[in-house]
Every structure is written in C-alpha cells, then in structure tokens.
Homo-oligomer: 360 residues x 2
C-alpha cells in the first residue's frame, strides 16, 4: 500500500530496519545516550534554544496535549483556544474537563485566524493561548507570527500543538516566544505512532515545576527529572524511541530541519501544481495551506469517502478520509513520510484513471 | 545481546518481522478486525468471560494502572492496597494523588500476603482491593486465591495488576471474581513496550460507564466506546498492536494460555534447578516465586549491580538490575520472552565462568 494519510505515514528503510531489531533493555547508559541525542536534535530542529527541555511521552498526541494543558495551566488561568477543527476542539474539551477558564475563537471553515479576530481579545486578561498550528483535520495552517505577536503584546503564555507541522513548516520556537511545543512520532518524524513529545522552554520548565497536576502518568515533572539522566519515569516505547533516533540522524545528515521543510514543501507544491495541470475535479478547501497536507473536496458530486475506499480497495493507495460531517465532502492527501515525486505520480495516475472510469 | 530482563524482552522472529513492516493506516475495517481478534484472544487467555471488554491503551503499564484507579474508584471508596515493592507502592501513590481513601498492607520483604494479615481487614468497610499479582520488583507472587476469597466474603471490588503475570502464572479472571486486570505488551506478550491493556469484567464496564474521571486520555469510557467498532479514541501504537496480534496468534497456535504458562514455568524450574546443581553463589530471596522471574541475592559479597554490568559488558547478556536500596543486593533473571533452555545454559555458563574468574 502507498500511504498518503497524515499518520501513521511511511518510514524509511533504516527506520524499518530498527523496527525489526530486538528491543534492548533500557535502564542503561547506552540507552540514555540515545535519549540525550534525541533531546538535542529535537531542540535543534524546533529552534527551541539551549535551555529548553524535551519530554518523551509514551502515548498518542492527545496524551501530550492533555499533559501540556494540566502541567502549565490551572483554575487561575484564562486561556484563549483556537477551535477550528477536531484537534482545536479537543484542546477546548481538555480545558473544560480540567475546569480551566477559557474562551474559544472559531475561525470560519478552511480559514486562518485574522488580526482583527485576535485584536478583539487584546487587554482582556488572558494568560494562556492554545493553538494547533496545523489544524490537520481541515488542513489549515494558522499564522503563528500573528498569534505570537498577540501573545507577546498581551504577556500571554503560548502553547502550540505542532503535531503535523513540526519538520513541515518553518518554525522558530525561541524567536516566536512559544513556551510549549507538542509533536508526535507518526507525522513528519515518520516513525510508528506511540510517542508524543512536549518541548518546554526554560520558562515553561520553571512553570511545570511549580504546578501539581492530579496525575502520575502525565506529570511532566517526573519526565523532566528522569530526563536529566536520559531516562523516563516508566517503561517507554523503547523501540520507537530508537527509531526516532535513527530518523533524527537521517534528517541531520540530509541538511537538518530547513532542508526537510523545503523537501516536504516541494512535494506539496509538486502535487498541487499537478492537480491544476491535469484539471482534476477537486477544490482545495483551505485558504491557508500547510506543507503537510492538501485538503480536497470533490467537485463532481462523488463522495469523498467513496474516493478513499476505491483508492484503498482498487489501487492499493491510502489517502486520508475525514470523519463526522466532512466525511462525504473532504478527503486529504498528506505529503509527509517516505514519499517522493514518483509516488505522487502514482496517486495522480490513479485519480486520472478513476476519471476515465467515471468515478470522479 | 541475550535478554533475561523482565521487559522489554526478546520477541519472536514473526513479531520482529511485523516490526519491519510499514505501519498501515488504521481507521479501516481491516485494522478493526485485528483489534477485534486481539480483544477476543486476550479475553480468552485471561479467562475473562464472554461479556468482558479489553481497552488497549497506548502507554506504559503505569498509564493503565492510573486509568484503572481513576475509572473504577473515587473519594467514596475505601481501598486496600498491597505495597510490597515498587509497583505496589505506585498503586498507593496513585490513590494518594487522586485522594481516594485507602489503607496499605505491607508484606515482609520477599513474602506474600498471609490469611492472618487479610483477616485483620475483614468487615472494616473496604470497597476496593489493589494488588500487583507478581510484584516484579522483588519477584513475589501473591496468593490470588486467598485475596479473591477475602474480597468475595467482604464484597470488595478486586483490581489486579498482572503486568508480569499474565501468560506466566495460572489465572482465571472470572473464577477469581477479578473485576479489572491490567497487563502490558513487553512482558510475556513479548512485544515491544508501548501498549498496556485493561481487561474489564461486565461489572467493571458498568462501573466505568458510571464514573467521570477528570481526564480525557485515560478515560476508559472513550476506549470502550471506540472499541465497539474495533477502534481507539486516539492514534494508537498501531505497529505494536499488530505485533500483539501476531503474538496472540502464535500462543493460540501453540496450545493457548495453559501451554504458555506451562512453557514459562518449565523454563523457571529448569533455571532454578541448575542454580542448585551448579552450587552457584546466589540465594533466592522470594518465598513465593512467580514463573516470570527469579530474584537472586549474591552470597559471595559481590554487588548485584556489578554482576549486571559485567554480564552486559563482558558476556553480552542482560539480567535485570534493581534500583534504590536493593541495587547492590538483588538482581533478577526473567524467564519470559523468546527464550529457550539453551539460552539459560548460556547464562549459567557465564555465571560459572565468572565464578572461575573470582567475580562471583
């Protein structure tokens, strides 16, 4: 199967080879070295600064979203959250569950957050801001520069979920005054799912040490303390952490984060250009495209979900379906993972074949 | 490296081959089938009964320990917890963090819980009981029959952490009136770490649906609901879940849970017999041995941790060190994972070689 979903994505040969190895015992200096290198490279690629720290959580991205929320905010905060799709909505639900006061910005479908929308919240006492940089569910990349400016002028603590944006779109954690950045193993890191990461600025580390969330598993203090010796508080997904190490080294050897962002951006442009060139019957539904994914709505009256099923069952190709009310109107094509232009040619060939069969 | 730790352990060739495969997209009927089969086989091997359910959590064993505690108990409960080592202590800490009233039974080092100890808690209004069936940190298997009787006669809801005992020691969830059983992917399931499992009896499922823990990630209701269609609420460790499927099928093909328990028990007896036969300078420190592990204390004045290091660095063998105050006095030899008698011969040969070198 050729995989154009937004995760799990395809892994490189080297990463897969690590997946075939026996998982080593991990309470050793040898494994600590792997973890130290992982932390160093993630900080470097996030441009997080020397004093930042990285917590490697064994869990889905949502584990790190919840950990971030409960380790840096509490009932004394007033948080502004962008709810522009299912992942933004999840942040809002987390704030609700943990009884953290908040208000919600709801951008129009397929649209980013505007300067005018943000200006309406100036000087209203907000202390925190939560945003999914790439709201993957609808393929919208928010303007992080705009959000960063808003947070800076209001003295707001900025938490960014970069799960689908890390390594895909330009990002400079330190320059943007982002205090917490979240990502996951199965997006542009192109490893199996099972690990999510929380990058904390120096200021965020201080804040975490001052909070007492009612949790053991998601308590970032434990991750930070154990991380000082290259370890985790509980048995982590050791195999996946070793695959992450392999992949981070691959990225470093290929020119680092800027080269990787350029590579993925190039694939996104290639695919989008061909969509027009071949006059495929799709409309791009996002006005602010991320590099990781292109959200498409069929214009020929065919169900988006039927396209997903036909590609899967008849062409050996996965694209990414949507759930809920977008099920029949939007599907997505990812540009992350071990993909090359020729793979997109295969997908485009399948689309053209479906057209000739009257299926698009 | 030859791995005799208690996790991560060595995996079979077939499980490793799955680790080398691309991780598939998972919101598909194909992956749901894998999950349904996983649930069916885990229930069968736990002897959990037709109406039990299994939640597959992407996380360490501690994630499922915390999930179990907060999804079945609350401030109205009064829980008795066996704290006989670091894992029992973790349960006590979880009860503390979540402000669930509790009392602690502390067995003597290396000892199980006795009928007399339990009798002291009869009729004292306890509503819950928490125990790590195999307290792996010290290699003590508690008498689940005794505990089950105590819970039955007091009408107590019994939660058992079987992380290191599942597939190793005889266990019948339904016959023992165990309501919740926890296990993990990296013990006798012999897959990479990253997935822990919570098996819920019908009564436990009902109880979970009646509780509102303040968490999203560890809310078992979400896992149960999504599990009805063979799915998980958040992107799980899809690769590990496919490896678990491979391994469960292996066990089924080799005669099921009883055959696997017999196999691991046979290896434990083989190793323990040879320890005596070769007069190795170790004392077994547990009076109630589980099949998964043999805890050994060196009698020749050598540090247990030094033995771990020598075996690792000079013989290519991992045994399982202890942390904390047992660091120098106890190490452990596991009998789980893809191990055969000849592997134990290798380990025993290394011990004898170390003796001849004056290192034991």
């Amino acid at each position: 199967m050729l995989n154009f979903t937004v995760g799990p994505v395809m892994s490189s040969e080297a990463v897969r080879a690590v997946g075939a190895e026996q998982v080593p015992y991990f309470r050793t200096p040898e494994f600590s070295e792997v973890m130290f290198e992982n932390e160093r490279l993630v900080k470097q690629f996030a441009k997080a600064g020397e004093n930042a720290r990285v917590c490697f959580m064994t869990g889905s991205g949502t584990a790190s979203m919840e950990a971030a929320v409960i380790n840096v905010f509490d009932a004394q905060d007033k948080v502004l959250v962008v709810d522009g799709g299912s992942f933004g909505h999840r942040f809002a639900e987390l704030l609700e569950i943990h009884e953290i006061p908040h208000e919600v910005i709801r951008p129009a479908f397929g649209q980013g957050v505007t300067a005018e929308q943000l200006a309406a919240y100036d000087g209203r006492g907000f202390t925190g801001f939560l945003v999914n940089l790439d709201e993957t569910s609808v393929g919208v990349l928010y303007d992080i520069g705009l959000i960063s400016d808003f947070c800076r002028r209001n003295g707001i603590f900025l938490v960014v979920d970069s799960i689908s944006s890390f390594l895909c779109d330009p990002f400079d954690m330190e320059a943007l005054d982002v205090q917490v950045m979240i990502t996951g193993s199965q997006k542009a890191l192109a490893c199996p799912p099972g690990i999510s990461l929380v990058v904390l600025s120096e200021k965020a580390v201080e804040r975490v040490y001052g909070k007492k969330p009612k949790t053991m598993y998601l308590d970032l203090k434990l991750a930070l303390k154990n991380g000082e010796r290259g370890q985790t508080p509980f048995t982590p997904a050791v195999g996946t952490l070793r695959q992450i190490n392999c992949r981070l080294r691959e990225i470093e050897a290929s020119g680092g984060v800027d080269a990787e962002v350029a590579r993925i951006g190039g694939l996104a442009r290639y695919f989008r250009g061909k969509l027009t060139e071949y006059s495929l019957p799709f409309r791009i539904v996002s006005a602010s495209l991320p590099n990781a994914v292109t959200p498409l709505s069929p214009t020929g009256g065919v169900s988006a979900n039927d396209i997903f099923i036909t590609l899967k069952d008849e062409y050996g190709i996965w694209v990414c379906p949507n759930g809920g009310e977008l099920k029949d109107t939007v599907f997505r094509v990812g540009h992350i993972g071990a993909l090359e232009e020729k793979d997109f040619d295969t997908l485009l060939g399948a689309f053209r074949d479906m057209m000739s069969r009257g299926l698009l």
